[in-house]
Symmetry: C2
Amino acid sequence: MPDTALQDYLKAVYKLQETAGSEPGPAGEPVSTSALSERLGVSQASVTGMLKKLARKDFVSHEPYRGVRLTEAGRRVAVATIRRHRIVEQFLVEALGFTWDEVDEEAEILEHAVSEKVVNRMWEVLGRPRSDPHGSPIPSSEGVIEPESDARPLTETPVETPVRVTRIRNRSPDELRYLGGLGLELGAELVLEEKAPFDGPLLIRVGGRRHALDPRFAHAVLVE
Amino acid sequence: MPDTALQDYLKAVYKLQETAGSEPGPAGEPVSTSALSERLGVSQASVTGMLKKLARKDFVSHEPYRGVRLTEAGRRVAVATIRRHRIVEQFLVEALGFTWDEVDEEAEILEHAVSEKVVNRMWEVLGRPRSDPHGSPIPSSEGVIEPESDARPLTETPVETPVRVTRIRNRSPDELRYLGGLGLELGAELVLEEKAPFDGPLLIRVGGRRHALDPRFAHAVLVE
DNA sequence: CGGGATATTTAGCCTTGCCTAACTTTTTCT
DNA sequence: AGAAAAAGTTAGGCAAGGCTAAATATCCCG
Ligand SMILES: [Mn+2]
Ligand SMILES: [Mn+2]
Ligand SMILES: [Mn+2]
Ligand SMILES: [Mn+2]
């Protein structure tokens, strides 16, 4: 498919708007060229070029020098791509026996190759799951994403209160295996014992063991 | 993937060499620019351009004005692609409930997106099948294709001798459904009652019913 | 407020595949 | 054989997506 790049750009805009704490779409925070450049591993000049193409096709609105926002059409493409990605990941784990740390790379490619028909069949075969192997919600085929109840990053959790892991944001396979090794898996119970100041490491207790956790990782662990 | 085109070209050369009744590879019959042009739905000029690229990369040997043959490297790429294609087709039918007439289109895309790891897992989950939903053999991961016993096109079958369908060559979904409607499915028993001269239609009896079959289709039905 | 630093865009190029039109080689047919 | 037809190649372009270097906006700070 030649729209691989297009889908990846729109997905990146979506996630960056979301990360900025806003609803991805026409009303959300604009996303900068440099943020996209870094996220996609592509030069800023290339991003500018592609943004102009996306704007011409009405998938984003682009105000030169001040970033882009997804249009409604762009949001739909992004969400559909995220849906395919997450269903493929879940399928690889549940139906083909992959481990959760190795599926993202495969899904990053398959998300552009798998038809709606195929992805819908996968979803049915899996028993219509609501989330992927990392706890991220699977958008409906109509593009609706169930709001994530009251999941917060581990870094914003009160001390000495038991919480449960509901989602682990995208990390490299090595990092995911590290977290898994600590016992930080979906559904795991843990307690934040101490939080060093100045955005320092956290001291957590999980499965009877105590570990220091770098805030970089703690940000990626969502709990409730 | 940017090698989608490359893989499709090599696959096409492979199948055309095979169709010409020769072993695909350095020793087989050369394949003409126009045959590739027609099969791939691309202009002859485009084929020439791509053949030069493939020759430069040593996937084919190209003697200008007289066609190409696969090199050993080219044969390996072609066979690996065919393996992915056929495993994906079998998986779509057996694991996801697709019908045999709708899988080729999906597989034509997925064959370029699915990694060796994924395709090998599919093959395992399927119980290591030896052939795809159309009866075509699945090459081993080492690139070996089990020779097809003594399968012959229906057109070359003796009259009044019961035979069994072992393979149905690639046809459009509509045509495949038509054949299925006649009872011509994998494993079906049938008798050729009469064969009109001048490459005319065949009269066949299958499942108690008699049908006239155009030789175009009869060529695509292999029996033993 | 005026730079300088930083972010963004423009300009110019490249590769991949594909196209049409024109030219050349090979085949075929009288 | 010789010419017309068919097959194949070359020439010149286009769109997608990249890149680097240079130009220009915007931002931030003294
Ligand atoms: Mn992922
Ligand atoms: Mn992707
Ligand atoms: Mn097929
Ligand atoms: Mn293909």
